[in-house]
């Protein structure tokens, strides 16, 4: 079905417009050769498929003529105009096909995706993914070639059964965002160059973003100052100086610096935006408990109290309070931001963009979302012991009569065994209970009395028994003499094996489609099942060996019993191995006799 080589007359054009040079376009497995009609002209193209990146082509019914445009990966392209669209179609198929083969990811940039079916538009990503799959898995590729390019299945149908494959792959590379590290970004460590006693902060885009996120004020300032007031560089240097001052937490110095450079103040002073926010929050708290009250009673000033940060305790000076930034504040802020997570997703290379985005997100997030979150947090932080337990009621199970299980199984069990009698037939015991027990006891006492006889088994009996057993043993032995788990296929010559497997796989593919359309709910499906047989047929024509696969009996109603539904396809399932009779089937068998026959031949030695 898949032509190795094709020749069409076409015009070679340098541009879509303008008249091209008439000639013969010849495509082989890996080459495209164009010979102009008049030998004198120089334009003679001979390119390898490998050097072709992709192709475009015009859609049928569109105004423009049937063009195909082969894009070379080192720039430039060849444009051919065909005489009619069918030619174009054929060539396109061929190109797609051989591109797929010649290990290149094929980027279909035609005004209609090349391999996409009528009813779905696929992102190029999807397309690439599929191509990738095809290239990775030769088997898949074979099938794809055979069915899709052989117009037996539409692309979408083909992939529908492989959703898992697609999903699986996509989920692999579905990019999940990575959250904030919970390490304190605020301690961006400066590198200290001992020789030239110099400090270097290096801020990645990420850090900048985080700084913005953490410090609305800075971000504000950035928006105000950069670039019209100062360059971005200056801005960050200032920021870093401020940071440095914080490191040394020498409020004095800070104050001094602030005095001489008003810009620094922004960085040194508490973040007023946050402060306001905090105040708002505090206000939201039930007024009966005064949060500000406890701000006074931290024991920072006492000798060994308070939190040590970086090994050094925070010394508080009463004046320049403004320039002090407590560890707690940082911590809380950090926590808050981490919890918020990434509110924006713009690529971080441009700080200004980021800053704006952040600012924006703040605006809207200030609305319901925050409320929502607050509510949930409050709901989470409630004291357990004051709450009702969160247990879920279990669904009760009331089984009316457990005996059903037993009976059903029992009935089945007994029925399916060789014996003819009904299930639990009453023992034909003539005696009543007492007598029965009496009998039992008497026989016990009897044996007690007389003991065991040395010759309880007569030799001839013993012999017959053991012979009988041996008999049955050897019979079973011959029944399944060859061990079961050796693969029959290995006894076949490779080519036959390959072929066999290929047939089998392709047929399985078809059947999968056949079944995937049950139960028939939509007319579409109906059409499909109907069609799928026709397709089966055509497919079967494609590869020999199962050529005789019958189309379903005329007017075969897909709704009718699955059995008959399967009847018409399952022989092919076990290429030539099955033993069902039924018309369509015997023929299949006949065809496959070839294989079967070989089977025997090869299994001899």
């Amino acid at each position: 079905m898949e032509t190795r080589h094709l020749i069409k007359r076409a015009k070679y054009k340098t541009t879509a417009k303008g008249s091209g040079i008439p000639g013969v376009l010849e495509m082989t497995k890996n080459k495209i050769v164009f010979k102009p009609n008049d030998p004198t002209s120089v334009t003679m193209i001979n390119v390898d498929f490998r050097s072709i990146k992709g192709h475009k082509n015009t859609k049928e019914g569109s105004s423009n003529p049937p063009l195909i445009n082969l894009v070379l990966d080192q720039g430039g392209s060849y444009i051919f105009e065909f005489e009619n669209f069918s030619d174009l179609q054929v060539c396109r198929e061929f190109v797609v096909n051989s591109l797929a083969k010649s290990g290149e990811g094929l980027i279909a940039t035609s005004d209609r995706p090349v391999v996409a079916s009528h009813d779905e538009q696929l992102s190029t990503a999807e397309m690439e993914l599929r191509m990738k799959l095809l290239q990775e898995n030769s088997e898949l590729q074979k099938l794809h070639k055979q069915f899709v390019l052989g117009n037996i299945l539409t692309e979408s149908e083909f992939w529908a059964t492989r959703k898992k494959l697609l999903d699986g792959d996509s989920s692999q590379k579905s990019k999940q965002q990575i959250g904030f590290k919970s390490s304190m970004i605020l301690d961006t460590l400066p590198l200290h160059d001992a020789r030239t006693n110099k400090l270097t902060f290096n801020l990645t885009q990420e850090t900048k973003y985080q700084i913005f996120a953490l410090k609305p004020a800075v971000q504000q300032a950035f928006l105000n100052l950069v670039p019209n007031k100062m360059t971005e560089k200056d801005f960050w240097t200032k920021y870093c100086r401020a940071e440095l001052l914080h490191f040394k937490r020498n409020a004095m110095a800070a104050a001094a610096e602030a005095a001489e450079d008003e810009d620094l103040v922004i960085f040194l002073k508490d973040d007023d935006i946050l402060a306001s926010e905090a105040r708002r929050k505090i206000r939201r708290v039930d007024p009966t408990l005064d949060i500000e009250a406890d701000q006074g009673d931290d024991y920072m000033h006492l000798p060994d109290h308070g939190i040590f940060r970086d090994g050094s305790k925070e010394i508080t000076e009463s004046q320049h309070e403004v320039y002090r930034r407590t560890f707690l504040q940082d911590l809380n802020r950090q926590g808050e931001v981490v919890l918020e997570g990434r509110t924006i997703d713009v690529e971080l290379d441009n700080p200004t963009k980021v800053a704006e985005a952040l600012a924006q997100s703040r605006q809207e997030s200030d609305a319901t979302a925050k409320e929502e979150r607050l509510y949930r947090t409050s709901r989470m932080t409630e004291m357990e012991d004051l709450q009702a337990p969160h247990d879920h009621p279990f669904a009760p199970l009331c089984i009316k009569d457990p005996r059903d299980y037993f009976d059903s199984q029992q009935a089945n069990a007994l029925k399916t065994y060789d014996d003819t009698r009904a299930g639990t037939e009453q023992l034909s015991c003539s005696l009543n209970t007492e007598e029965a027990y009496g009998f039992l006891r008497s026989s016990i006492s009897e044996i007690k009395a007389m003991g065991l006889s040395a010759h309880m088994v007569r030799p001839e009996v013993a012999l017959t028994v053991i012979n009988g057993l041996t008999q049955n043993i050897s019979s079973t032995k011959y029944q399944l003499g060859k061990n079961v788990n050796e693969s029959v296929l290995d006894r076949l010559p490779n080519t036959t094996k390959e072929e066999l497997l290929h047939h089998w796989i392709s047929i399985q593919e078809l059947l999968r489609h056949f079944w995937s359309s049950y139960p028939i709910t939509t007319s579409y499906l109906y059409a499909k099942t109907e069609g799928s047989h026709v397709k089966n047929l055509s497919a079967a024509r494609g590869n020999k060996g199962i050529g005789s696969l019958r189309a379903p009996p005329a007017g075969f109603p897909p709704r009718s019993s699955y059995a008959s539904g399967s009847r018409c396809c399952f022989p092919t399932l076990r290429v030539g191995f099955a033993e069902e009779n039924g018309k369509g089937w015997r023929e299949a068998k006949w065809i496959c006799l070839g294989e079967v026959y070989e089977l025997h031949v090869y299994s001899r030695y």
């Binding site: 009331c398 007994l414 039992l440 006891r441 003991g451 013993a462 043993i473 939509t522």
Partner: protein, 290 residues
């Protein structure tokens, strides 16, 4: 869960737990007289003990109203010389058996229902498994346990789940259940049991040669079984049958709550009374088109 632990023991040292069917209604109506049966079994037990002095035999009586241990070679005191020509095993076992039968009868009298035709196989199986677990616990030096059911009476449907549970537990701890079934028609339970646990199912044709069957097939220790070809238990058909019409089915619907089986779709489960949503499309979501 107890899986068979590694044994440092000799290859063929084995623990044989025999489940002895003492259903009077069966024996009283059976061609092979109980006394003969006993004599075969007793000499079989003797021969097991004879093969290796670490071999251990435990006998559990499967009555139709109760089950009980009637012999345990490990705890047996083989020094009571009550009757010279009676081996300790027999006298011991028979005495216990006698007591058991009487007890069984009394229990039967208490019972309001009519005379049951089936023995309590599930009970004796469970006991046997408990015993074997004890042996497993006894440390690395334990004999290789196996169970032998000498069953005659028909299966008691009401025991199905119990017996299945026992079978699976046995399978999990790799204890084969051999079954020698003497009744008229095959026992589904025992066939499944042997099939699942990799034991042997035999239905002796020549009953007066019972001992021969026992010694030829069932005396084989697990170690020897690895390179011997024993009567293969016939491939059991594991198709289910529906609760509604009790007929065997190829395809059916199963209640996701109580796992009861129906041959066609119902609105409501007749077993657990739960109401169903619309029938599941029988093709998995994965391969669903549109």
């Amino acid at each position: 869960m107890a899986s068979a632990p590694s044994k440092l023991y000799a290859d063929d040292v084995s623990l044989l737990v025999v489940l002895l069917d003492t259903n009077p209604f069966f024996w009283s109506s059976f061609s092979l007289p109980f006394s003969k049966f006993l004599s075969h079994v007793l000499s079989f037990l003797n021969s097991i003990l004879l093969l290796n002095q670490f071999n251990q035999v435990v006998v559990i009586a499967t009555g139709c109203n109760s089950c009980d241990y009637i012999y345990d070679s490990s705890s047996a005191t083989n020094t009571d010389a009550e009757s010279g020509r009676m081996p300790a095993l027999c006298s011991d076992l028979l005495r216990k058996l006698d007591e058991f039968v009487t007890r069984d009868q009394h229990l039967g009298e208490k019972d309001s229902l009519g005379p049951p035709t089936s023995s309590l196989l599930s009970g004796s199986l469970s006991m046997a498994l408990c015993y074997i677990q004890k042996v497993f616990r006894s440390g690395p030096l334990h004999p290789q346990p196996r169970i032998l059911c000498l069953q005659g009476s028909t299966d008691g449907p009401e025991q199905y789940v119990a017996i299945m549970n026992a079978i699976f537990s046995a399978q999990r701890s790799m204890v084969p259940i051999d079954s020698c079934f003497m009744g008229s028609n095959n026992s589904a339970f025992l066939q499944q049991a042997s099939y699942i646990t990799g034991g042997v199912y035999q239905k002796p044709q020549q009953l007066d040669g019972l001992f021969q069957y026992l010694s030829t097939v069932f005396a084989t220790d697990l170690h020897s079984r690895t390179f011997l070809r024993l009567p293969k238990s016939v491939g059991v058909d594991f198709r289910a049958s529906c609760f509604c019409h009790k007929r065997t089915i190829d395809m059916g619907y199963i209640c996701s709550v109580c796992l009861s089986i129906f041959c066609k779709h119902h609105k409501k489960c007749s077993t657990c009374g739960s109401v169903f949503g619309q029938p599941q499309s029988d093709v998995p979501s994965a391969s669903n088109v549109k």
